[in-house]
Point group: C2
Chain length 589, copies 2
């Protein structure tokens, strides 16, 4: 089984040293949330994930969620652990105190998301969508709905889902067919089939609150005729108690490559009672509140799985002896494989991506809080635009790198990586869903180039690249960070050129843009991680005297990133701008 | 379930148009093997693999090989199909007529290897190692052993294994512990444990012939004290009939991520009777006859799995409708996803790698035959050196690209790619062993830079790059291929620079070389595939009038490779030459 130690040191480093977003620090509601509280929460979270949740990973893989007699049964131990999980208040961590939440910021809850993802993605998914549904209802529901549903969701005794996909539509929700017929009392009756519904049914909570996209009877075709509905699995009486079973049933669950402990359901709605959330025909935009936050969390899943894969590969490489290293000191026997240059390169490749991603994700957590709660609407909007720009980037980059990292970890284990004992191959299989769900990574890239670079608020990417440029100019002033800053600047210039090419191509040939979007996303992502590393470097050189080992480690890890990972940008740029003429006219037979 | 159509057209194109190696065509033994015979064999092979073997893939995944009462049971249907398989003579295809083989060249049998890999890697593995063992015995066994064992192996009623790995050693065979004690009759008694033995036990054949690396009693330590032994599962009487069970038993089989139909065994040798093959203490070099041929076949496995993944992604992208393409003609509903630029890019990425790899592999098949059978020893050695150089490259590049291609195919299927129904995720899991077994891809890269570039026969890589250079000069003479040739030349220059850097670093810092070896392998591999494409382009422009559709398809596929894949070389070069100083001194904690 894979082992795990929550990387609290690195998390606390970010919390103490990189929580320097001026606007974030202006937020009244988080004034009291300092390092002591953060550390206390992270230590409790570490205990929970390392001791109770980690063992569920293997159990869930060996005893997948089952569908029997119309209901889903979770793997052994899930129920008991979930009970403890909600008793200790973990579902309420980031929720509004008005509904019983602890009101913690994403600067803390994102770390918790990472830990949970490391320990068991399958187990995490049962509460993850609840938080998504909670956020959606919180922002778009009317008061009576919020009062009726949110407290129990915050407590975790009810869970939530998001029901978008149907057999004919995943990416293209305009095609969806589920119907909602308005009743005289203002409620709706929903009928249709939803597929790939994560935690669509299970035995962990008393009730499940489905958020369902459907089409009202008189709605226009396409995406402009979609509304959002809240459909409880079990109806709620006026006094808040559980009533009759609603008209939603589970048709089957999927047999999947990984995350086998998580139930992925076909749900059949058959005249199920639902409540409209948000304005009629604007359901997609309400749902996107949930989707966007969720996409960032999926990125964090990739980060969390990368972290545990790295930890296990590192441990194994210290134990496994094989071959003599180039500078061997031993006179007989083999050296630990961590003494071999190629293994060290592979480990640093993982580490430099993981820590860079964590820093980027921490910056994004601060921006997200500013986008939600800052009192100045302009500042709020600016942060929202940055979050919107970086959401597809974080989702795709972190999950793709999660595949690279879990794969490289398997390679370090050799044959033992392909067998089930060590738990590495499970990380690889579990993570493989992350580049697919919540919109495939190509769909993220399309979203980025066609919708996010420029919107009604103007040139977001221009604003972002200027932000990075200013950071580079600052870092160039110090001798210690100068070379790093100059290297990043070269790559930033490529990003700027690539962006100009995208903008130009947008008028000439949208297909050129479509064929380049994945490369573009990767360039933007790598520059962003590089920018995060530059911030870490600034601090590391300044703080060196306080903890030489820690900060030297950071500097050398960053150096690896700048030397060996940033050059990937060159290839993406060259490939990306090669155009689409022969791609589009190619005659596939 | 995945579908499959053997790509006979492309194979026959290579056989008819690229079988132009002068030395290969000088081989007496293959003078009679022309296109008609090749086509006949490939068509029969296609029927077999498409109809009988393909269904075994899913069956094997759902009903893994079982270990019961000390014996391995293969999945349902394997036995019946294997019987038909050997009755039709498929195990004997490439074997020597002296022992009952059909004596077909690798220019044909490599295509058969590809087809089998596409249809079911698990099923293929039961006969694949037999051919490996056959080759090893053929080259290193004495006549009496060959007469005793080879005819039944060629017939397929006996199978073979290669037993190298032990719990403490995979890459580093110098550590191996299995002992062989010489008996008064010249036989040996072997004792020890071997792990990860593919087809180590099963119920498909009457007998299993193990080739086992072990250490004779008085042997020196390390790799210089390893000998090779033939150990039959069931002993053979002097009259050739089956005798007593030998002292080898199956301890267990592995539970694996994929290739579940294939039994991966722990074998316990307990005073098992064995016959020494080849000279004492030179067992590793005898085994490498088998290993090297086998490594190329593993590369071809990656190619075969890539092909079937591509075919299924292509079919699905024509059926699945989602979203409007940029140039949509439709007024309502969605377009097939193959109309989207990004999907087309992804499909061409697969296709251009697959067809380039197939052409490279076909060239290598010719070189291999020359290296084995040419009458001029200098020509023979030259070909052997090229094969030796390209073996780790083909093994690693094709299997890594197999992961990229099966992964991209999954992405095209979206959520359906992660569930079991379509068979795509199985291709991804099955292929995942190929970068690991027969030496991990990093071990291949280490082999390449430290052992293959330069050997006692001189500067092999220099000879190879000159060969490519001459091809480029030729192609530059024609207006049609000039631009392609110039592009390849730029990348060849990078390869030459990288090679010079490797040679220089070999004296300064072996760790620099170790940290760069994977990047170097990739650069050499991509240039080699580019060179293969250049040969295909030469022919395509010349032959255009004979089949415009086919050759235009080739030219445009090549264009994609030159525009979008060759630029990967830049990143590998830049990353590779960045040195290892901070990697080696990094303090992993």
């Amino acid at each position: 089984m894979a082992t795990y130690n929550a990387p609290i040191n690195d998390m606390m480093f970010l919390f103490e040293k990189l929580r320097n977003n001026k606007h974030y620090n202006e937020l009244e509601k988080y004034k009291e949330v300092g390092p002591d509280l953060a550390k206390d929460i992270l230590e409790q979270a570490a205990k929970m994930t390392e001791n109770l949740i980690l063992p569920l990973a293997k159990i869930g893989d060996e005893n997948p969620a089952k569908f029997e007699n119309g209901a889903v049964r979770t793997p052994p131990g899930y129920k008991e652990t979930y009970k403890k999980f909600i008793e200790d208040g973990w579902t309420s961590l980031s929720c509004d105190p008005e509904y019983g939440g602890q009101g913690m910021p994403k600067t803390i809850s994102a770390f918790f998301d990472e830990m949970l993802s490391s320990a068991s993605l399958s187990f995490k998914l049962y509460s993850e969508l609840s938080i998504g549904a909670y956020n959606c209802i919180l922002r778009h529901g009317v008061d009576s709905i919020k009062k009726k549903f949110l407290p129990n969701m915050v407590k975790g005794i009810w869970s939530g889902t998001m029901c978008l996909t149907e057999p004919v539509c995943g990416t293209d929700l305009g095609l969806l067919k589920t119907k909602a017929i308005e009743q005289s009392d203002g409620t709706f009756k929903l009928s249709g089939q939803k597929i790939f519904i994560t935690s669509g049914d299970h035995d962990l909570t008393e009730n499940i609150i489905h958020l369902v996209l459907a089409r009202a009877l008189d709605a226009p075709a396409g995406t402009k005729g979609i509304s959002l509905f809240l459909v409880p699995k079990i109806q709620i009486e006026d006094d808040g108690s559980l009533g009759q079973r609603n008209g939603v049933s589970t048709g089957s669950i999927e047999s999947k490559m990984g995350i086998k402990g998580s139930a992925t359901c076909v749900l059949n709605f058959d005249g199920a009672v639902g409540y409209m959330i948000g304005p009629k025909n604007k359901g997609l935009s309400s749902m996107f509140t949930m989707m966007n936050l969720e996409r960032i969390v999926v990125g964090i899943q990739g980060l969390g799985i990368s972290e545990i894969a790295y930890q296990n590969a590192l441990n194994y490489s210290k134990e496994r002896k094989q071959g003599k290293s180039n500078n061997t000191q031993s006179t007989n026997g083999a050296d630990a494989i961590i003494d071999h240059a190629d293994i060290r390169r592979s480990l640093l490749n993982m580490k430099s991506m993981i820590e860079g991603e964590r820093a980027l994700s921490f910056w994004l957590a601060q921006q997200t809080e500013v986008s939600l709660y800052h009192s100045d609407s302009k500042i709020k909007q600016q942060a929202a635009d940055l979050v919107s720009l970086m959401t597809p980037v974080v989702k795709s980059l972190f999950t793709d790198m999660g595949m690279e990292i879990t794969s490289d970890a398997m390679q370090i284990f050799g044959g033992y990586g392909y067998t089930k004992d060590q738990g590495i191959e499970q990380l690889y299989r579990d993570n493989r869903i992350t580049p697919i769900y919540e919109g495939t990574n190509s769909v993220q890239a399309i979203d980025l180039v066609f919708r996010k670079l420029i919107n009604k608020n103007g040139n977001i990417i221009g604003y972002y690249t200027q932000l990075i440029k200013r950071g580079i100019v600052e870092s160039t002033k110090s001798e210690e960070t100068k070379l790093f800053a100059e290297t990043l600047n070269k790559h930033l210039e490529v990003l700027i050129d690539f962006t100009a090419w995208i903008e130009k191509s947008m008028t000439n040939s949208k297909d050129d843009v479509g064929a380049a979007c994945n490369d573009y996303l990767r360039v933007l992502g790598l520059v962003s991680v590089g920018y995060s590393w530059l911030k870490v470097l600034d601090i590391s050189f300044k703080e060196m005297k306080n903890n030489k080992k820690f900060f030297m480690d950071k500097i050398e890890t960053a150096r690896f990133f700048f030397d060996r990972i940033l050059p990937r940008i060159d290839t993406h740029y060259k490939s990306g701008i090669s155009g689409s003429k022969n791609i589009m006219k190619f005659n596939f037979n």
